[in-house]
Amino acid sequence: MIEVANLSKSYGSVRAVDDVSFTVRPGVVTGFLGPNGAGKSTTMRMIMGLDRPTAGHALIAGRPIAAHRAPLAVAGAHLDARSFTPGRSARAHLRAVAASNGISRRRVDEVLELTGIASVSRKRPQGFSLGMSQRLGLATALLGDPSTLLLDEPVNGLDVDGVRWIRELARSLAAEGRAVLLSSHLMSEVEQTADHVIVIGRGRILADKPLSDFTCASSDGVVEVSSTDDTRLAQVLAAAGAPVAPIGGIAVGGLTSAEISDLAASAGVLLTRVHEASRSLEDAYLELTRDEVQYQSTPKEGAR
């Protein structure tokens, strides 16, 4: 479990992370979203003890990462695809990292197999593609079989198979009871992988809730219904104070599906279709971060 409390980081007058607090729970994949420069990577680096917070603290399994006897068994982090010496073979790199925490050579072979780079393990990674470098970084993060994983943009550079592999890996790691914090710019990936999302913008937490709540809360709350008597149903719903509009059924605002269902039942009207219009994570994210992006392009004049 990761517990972040009032974490702040300033670089001179720039507040990169501003009083951030959240918890990443075991057994859950938590998506960490935010525009470029929002403070995602800085937050992750502070959690792992790579950067010093200006204020606040981050605990992993109840303690700062530096206070753990074997840090790799507590937290594995993949924060950058290029975090190795290009001239040292992948196997030697992993052996050196494993040795630093007293982890056996057998585990090195296991993670090489798990990440699919066993066949190139004796090669020096200076010739690795970005995808292979990502896999080596993930192998490093998994060495200690940690209870917590921090993955910063792990699907960058991966092909379709690799992206699916990461998705399944993250979900299976969470299913084993690990806490997984995963940042990504690919909303579709987070939508398919995460159970919970934390959105950060200009260093502040904008949202911290289950994925389903996030997309629902960000939708316009319109429920489309059809029934055996749309005219009667529209009257009942309007009487309940809900704005209604005929759309070849009825579009209802301000009421949940369950409330509409109850009202229809009490009026003796049978619902034949209920569709709760929910926005995609991307729509919800863009709506939330509209004013928080640091670098924004200007739409071309006349562009549709």
Binding site: S83, G102, S104
Partner: protein
């Protein structure tokens, strides 16, 4: 869940991790040193220089290659080797940051002081081995060239067997501390170069008062220790060999302490 006990920490699936002790860090850093091709190329280059110096020097000795003569050849190689070995470890250590490896290193070993201690010990051991390899090469070649006319064992050569590894070890550790302090290969090598070659020249030519300080600089202390067993080595104004070792250790510990404090305070990887 993760459990912690006296035997270490086990991960979710039961993988054992004995812990990031200084011993584990030393093993890790030794693997890093061994697994780079540049280490072996550097060692071969060093032995190549030793071979060249011995071969050229042997041709000038017609009589017996005494222990004193062999020690002279070794010390000639050490003039260059001291800088090459220390600069090598400084570059390799600074490479932690330039390659991005430091992110991985400090994720695995968040305690910067512990990592620095492990790195210093590992490089000191490797530096000591390099010194012994040079001695072995020079003595071996000397015996091979002069055959029965070579007398490899004597106080001069035997003394070097413990003096050289000690000095190379301490200076290699010092170079690591300098590299961690400045975080930059060029700056680290520049600092070492200045300490070994520039300050002495500046002192001799521009600021003569500096000449009193020069014997107490790291490389000069190293030379004092290395020449301890050589006949007529005592030079007025230089510290005794025992004091030189203590001062050299002081340079290492002082620089390491400053580097550890700086490393803890700065964002780092």
């Amino acid at each position: 869940m993760t459990t912690t006990g006296t035997t270490g920490t086990a991960g979710i699936a039961g993988t054992k991790a004995r812990g990031a002790t200084v011993g584990a860090v030393v093993r890790s850093e030794l693997i890093k040193i061994r697994s780079l091709r540049s280490t072996w190329i550097g060692l071969l280059a060093l032995l190549g220089i030793a071979t060249l110096v011995t071969t050229l020097s042997s041709s000038k000795v017609s009589g017996v290659a005494t222990p004193g003569v062999l020690a002279d050849w070794i010390l000639t190689v050490f003039q260059v080797a001291l800088f090459l070995v220390t600069a090598f470890f400084a570059v390799q250590t600074a490479g932690e940051w330039s390659t991005g490896l430091s992110r991985t290193t400090f994720t695995a070993i968040p305690a910067r002081g512990r990592w620095l201690a492990g790195r210093i010990v590992a490089c000191a051991l490797a530096g000591a081995v390099a010194a012994l390899a040079v001695i072995g090469t020079v003595v071996g070649l000397g015996v091979a060239v002069h055959g029965a006319g070579a007398e490899p064992l004597g106080p001069e050569t035997v003394g070097l067997l413990w003096q050289a590894p000690l000095v190379f070890g301490l200076l290699s550790g010092f170079a690591v501390a300098v590299a961690v302090l400045v975080h930059n290969a060029w700056l680290a090598v520049g600092t070492l170069f200045t300490l070994q070659f520039v300050i002495g020249v500046v002192a001799a030519t521009l600021f003569t008062w500096l000449l009193q300080v020069v014997p107490y600089l790291p490389y000069d202390l190293a030379q004092t220790v290395l020449h301890d067993s050589q006949a007529g080595a005592e030079v007025a104004g230089t510290p005794s060999p025992g004091l030189a070792v203590a001062l050299l250790a002081g340079w290492l510990l002082g620089t390491a302490l400053v580097a550890a404090v700086a490393s803890r305070r700065r964002d780092g990887a």
